[in-house]
């Protein structure tokens, strides 16, 4: 009996100390992590619009040049980051990769079909293979690609010169397929919400 009590006390103490350690770490780092995430999003948007900034003035420049429009649709919040000067637009994407979620920012020209920039903010794909999806050199080829009205973009190993095609990752076919699905699903979702919002605006 005494042994069981001792074990129980040990487990409770271990749980309390380790939970306390993690809570302390969370309390210490949460604000820094949130600030880093906000910086990542804002710098991705400013980069997409070709607006120069420094780490010190990123928030001021962002507030001045970018308008955030939040639209509620079917109980979901859609956030659009609109370039006040040129009408370019960005929004976040998130979806399942091969090993975990892939999140990032998709930026479009004001024509709503031409990609200005794709930036991956987090992913857990295989290093050196699917992980290439986050590399800027790989993502550079998405710039200028056009979303097809029906099929979106096509990430393929054998492009035929169509302006909606992008080279797939060598050795990362499943990640390429997942990335294509994430971008297309997000694009059509946000486009529908934006068009509805604009039509309602025109009607009123």
């Amino acid at each position: 009996m005494n042994r069981h009590v001792k074990t129980l006390v040990f487990v409770i103490m271990l749980g309390a100390i380790t939970s306390g350690t993690l809570l302390g770490m969370d309390y210490w780092t949460a604000d820094y992590i949130a600030a880093n995430e906000e910086y990542q999003v804002r710098s991705a948007v400013l980069d997409a619009y070709g607006i120069s900034y420094t780490p010190g003035n990123v928030h001021d420049v962002y507030e001045e040049r970018v308008e955030e429009i939040v639209i509620e649709s079917n109980g979901v919040s859609y956030t659009f980051y609109v370039d006040r000067e040129h009408g370019n637009v960005s929004f976040g994407f998130e979806g399942g990769g091969v090993w975990g979620p892939i999140t990032g920012m998709l930026s479009l020209e004001d024509d709503w079909v031409t990609i200005r920039q794709v930036r991956v903010l987090s992913q857990s794909e295989t290093p050196g293979l699917g992980g290439v999806v986050a590399e800027r050199d790989y993502l550079a080829q998405y710039v200028g690609v056009v979303f097809d009205e029906e099929n979106g973009i096509n990430v393929t190993h054998s492009p035929e010169g169509d302006d909606s095609e992008v080279d797939a990752i060598t050795g990362g076919t499943r990640t390429s397929n997942a990335f294509q699905t994430i971008l297309n699903d997000t694009y059509f979702d946000y486009k529908d919400v934006w068009e509805t919002y604009m039509n309602e605006g025109d009607a009123s």
């Binding site: 040990f10 487990v11 749980g15 380790t18 993690l22 770490m25 780092t29 820094y32 857990s124 050196g128």
Partner: protein
């Protein structure tokens, strides 16, 4: 003379065990999953090696410190909880203060929890030995793991991408060996490395 005397110190023997005689990868064949997953790039191998070394040293020293209070029935759970706490803390610290490195290492930091070497050193060494020797053992096994990773990564990255640490080492026109970037390539190189290492160190399985 000093060198000969050092050979008989416990410090020396623990270090030699971790680095070569009982190297976690080539002799004990532990931590193979992560070794195959991340050795297609040298920078990944270095990052993973440093992360694993830190977690082994930290968890082994804590487990060694509380070894007289850990009930034997819950010792495995205790190891897991302590190791996970360290890994999650490292992840939070990196995300807060080194966000660029955190995004580079994101997938690997989580993988450290599943590394058998960390749990193995807790069970085989830290639970029975004082803190100072557990720290030496942690460093020896961490470095033993890291040097094998780096060696394999140098071969795989140069053949798979023609680079080492992203510097071009293969001639222009080199055709990349895609298989070296994926797990089967890792199996080939690791198998060859284990064979050569055991041959050179005369380490063979005992005949039953």
């Amino acid at each position: 003379m000093k060198l000969i005397r050092m050979k008989y110190t416990k410090w020396f023997n623990i270090s030699r065990d971790g680095l070569s005689k009982n190297n976690p990868i080539v002799i004990a064949v532990l931590g193979i999953c992560s070794a195959l997953a991340i050795t297609n790039r040298v920078d990944n191998a270095i990052a993973m090696g440093i992360g694993v070394t830190f977690v082994i040293v930290a968890s082994s020293s804590v487990i060694s410190l509380i070894r007289n209070f850990v009930p034997s029935k819950v010792r495995m759970v205790t190891y897991m909880v302590i190791i996970s706490t360290f890994v999650i803390s490292v992840q939070m610290f990196l995300e807060a203060f080194f966000p660029n490195q955190a995004s580079e290492l994101g997938a690997y930091v989580g993988l450290i929890i599943t590394n058998c070497i960390v749990m193995g050193r807790s069970e085989a060494f830290a639970i029975k030995n004082p803190v100072k020797y557990s720290i030496v053992d942690g460093f020896a096994n961490g470095f033993g793991y890291m040097f094998v990773l780096i060696f394999i990564a140098i071969i795989r990255e140069s053949l798979a991408f023609g680079t080492i640490l992203n510097y071009r080492v293969m001639p222009e026109g080199w055709t990349n060996w895609t298989i070296m970037a994926i797990a089967p390539g890792g199996f080939f190189v690791l198998g060859m490395f284990i064979w050569i290492f055991r041959e050179l160190s005369n380490n063979f399985e005992e005949q039953v």
